[in-house]
Amino acid sequence: MKCFAVCACLLCLTLLSAGCAAIGEGRPTSELSQEVVVFAAASLTEAFTTVGASFEQSHPQSRVTFNFAGSQQLASQLDQGAQADLFASADQRQMEAAVSAGRIDPGAVVSFACNRLVVVASGQSAASLHGLAQPGVKVVIGAEVVPVGAYTLNFLAAAAADSSYGEAFRRGVLENVVSYEQNVRAVLSKVRLGEADAGIVYATDAQTAPDVIVLEIPAHLNQLAGYQIAPVRNGASSALAQQFVDLLGSPAGVELLTDAGFSVDCPVAAGRRLP
């Protein structure tokens, strides 16, 4: 009797998942559909999801599958042989890691957007940038290995060299850090939940959270995160992958990116190289 009940449950689950899969397909399975697998930085989640939907509309026979995670995670997944057609990184360092792992042709790397840092704060805790360094304010930032964390440290270094902030500001902020999170979304979540008073994220992330206060960082201290994309060597659908890159550069793609808070005409920041 028990055995029968368990078997019945398992059968229901199987049918249910089959049903879900059919819904997920969204189009007749008889058509031969080609899949583009895109490994993309976590901060691209909203923008690339809409770009992907637009791509599927203009390429009805194709399906775009995303793997959103910290760029450093994606780069090491590629290094370990993960199968993908495209890699979109939130910084040059992780793209170079994928290049030196032999998964990316350095000539194929394209810079397609950039992003700036902003401070997000919960409640009325921090009214100005200087508030970040005030004792007792709980700050979360990205871990150093995560691009947003590296940019944050660069911003703090630039602020330390700036007369209106100085070394005391940098030290004050770092002393207030309560957690080095594993990706930019985790930083945002901790601030939205009120667990932390303030955090440093990309402008595009801040735009997805209407419930936080956004403080701009002065342009001369800000770090521009350059986003790069490149087809992965020996990807299964290289032609489609190239069309996806082309879409990003087209007027329609640019509009989707800017709607999500990215800018596309980025000045070449120091240490950043255009292909």
Partner: protein
């Protein structure tokens, strides 16, 4: 199906030696070789990642990598937090185990299920739940903050996450131990004039010693390995909330060798723990 007083699940985690198949009990035994062949794929699959990890680690450099400040801090923090959480689990878990094994009370089955819940929940769910309860804006977080107690992002949060994740392993093993005691032994002692406390202290406890110990070691190992609940609830700060699993996760991009060295330590710990548990149960089982 009659309602049994003792939990039918009591022995699932800790299988005493006497439950193993007796030799010669099955007369129609298929050839040994077929079973060995069928068992091989899973055994190889389980062994391969561990072997590869050990192979890839520069064992002679192990101590150098473990002396790395990040690794050393993580090891120290892991030892401190797991010791605390295991003590808490034993203190708070023993009464629950006794109650479950020996007393009939309303909603017993519900409590019994509740205790097992954390073992099947994804640890990330546990982390989110803890945030909602103990976070700054959670149910208890706000009142606690009034008293100046802050939990999120502290080592206390790490301990809470570990207790939540690991306590079922202890309670389950301890309840199994309590349930297996012949009540005649205790009745005899109390007929001879022993007080309730004396019965518990001199009859019950010695009899369940091995079960309690094995549960303790299992829950310690589970606490040591927790990642999901800790990173969500406690965050990641070296020396304060960055335990060994977190250091492995965030460290493997920074320095793979340190991550590998920490992994080897965790594997060794897990292996020793399981051996100890089996030995303890072998001692106390028959």
């Amino acid at each position: 199906m009659g309602r049994s007083k003792r939990s039918p699940m009591a022995h699932t985690l800790a299988t005493p030696a006497r439950l193993r198949a007796q030799p010669g009990s099955s007369r129609l035994r298929p050839p040994q070789e077929i079973w060995q062949g069928l068992a091989l794929p899973l055994l190889v699959f389980l062994l391969l990642p561990l072997a590869a990890l050990l192979w890839r680690t520069e064992l002679d450099q192990l101590w150098v990598h473990l002396a790395d400040p990040i690794a050393a801090q993580a090891i120290r923090l892991s030892l401190q937090t797991t010791t605390t959480s295991t003590l808490l689990i034993v203190l708070l878990g023993t009464p629950v185990a006794y109650l479950l094994a020996r007393r009939e009370f309303p909603l017993r089955r519900v409590v019994d299920t509740l205790i097992d819940l954390p073992t099947v929940l994804p640890p990330a769910v546990a982390g989110l739940g803890l945030l909602m309860a103990f976070g700054r804006r959670g149910w208890l977080g706000a009142p606690l903050e009034l008293f100046g107690i802050e939990i999120a992002f502290t080592s206390v949060a790490v301990v809470l996450a570990q207790v939540f994740i690991a306590s079922p392993f202890y309670v389950r093993a301890a309840a199994g131990g309590f349930a297996s005691i012949e009540s005649e032994l205790e009745q005899a002692a109390s007929l001879d004039g022993a007080s309730q406390w004396q019965v518990f202290r001199f009859i019950t406890l010695p009899l369940v010693r091995m079960s309690l110990l094995s549960g303790l070691v299992m829950s310690w190992a589970r606490a040591l390995g927790d990642f999901g609940a800790t990173i969500i609830f406690a965050g990641n700060f070296p020396g304060r909330t960055q335990t060994m699993p977190l250091a492995i996760y965030l460290g493997f991009e920074l320095d793979l060798n340190v991550a590998l060295a920490l992994s080897v330590i965790l594997i060794a710990c897990a292996f020793v723990v399981l051996m100890v548990v089996k030995w303890l149960l072998g001692e106390g089982g028959d």
